[in-house]
Symmetry: C2
Subunit: 101 residues, 2 copies
DNA sequence: GATCGCTACATTTAATGAAATATAACGAAG
DNA sequence: CTTCGTTATATTTCATTAAATGTAGCGATC
């Protein structure tokens, strides 16, 4: 679980399908599907439930469990960020302004 | 910068060369050298200084700047860890006991 | 000659992208 | 009422590409 998967989860929750979520995030459908598959297999219960077929071809939605994980993750991310914000910026100030080059 | 690079930095500091540090960490010399190279290029100043040739063929040591970065990184890691420890364990308890499978 | 830093090349592995297939609700004929 | 085509998606397969890794050798110094 990281910021990328969390963003994808939110996108899927917003638009109602993996493919539309992928488009919104500018990634390939396969990449999005792989991320969803990884999340669903990593946790005890699926975070995303999917349906194939139907008038709109199918769709996906974030489960109650998925919302719970997402909420916990975002809370943790935020808390950790606040907690070391000062130290982090000090460390970043030691980085080269040119990146790796 | 992550736990792996920090560990490598400490190993190099302990044993005095990239190759011995790599052996100690169970990685190839090339991998260790690449990590050191990345660190040296990412920061404003090198974290590791090297010498080729000499009585023992050369060696490497962590610079004063490198020690500073390492100390800051470890402090931050520890603080962030403590800060979200409870939440992190709650989240981990939601993971499948079988990993991705 | 020994040991190490460093580099270039080959190889193996992982990520990516594109394309083919499967699915099921829906509506329009018939 | 039944069949069929349409539709937008999920899912899988396969080829391609990029990245990581391993191998082998060179130059340096004591």
């Amino acid at each position: 679980m990281g910021p990328g998967k969390a963003d994808l989860l939110e996108a899927i929750d917003r638009v109602g399908s993996i493919s539309a979520g992928a488009r919104e995030m500018g990634m390939s459908y396969k990449r999005a599907w792989d991320l969803v598959d990884t999340m669903n297999r990593c946790f005890k219960q699926p975070l995303v439930a999917t349906a194939t077929g139907g008038s709109h071809g199918g769709g996906a939605h974030v489960t109650e469990f998925g919302h719970d994980v997402l909420r916990r993750y975002r809370a943790m991310e935020c808390k950790a960020n606040d907690c070391v914000s000062a130290e982090l910026h000090e460390l970043i100030s030691l980085l080269s302004p040119f990146g790796e080059d």
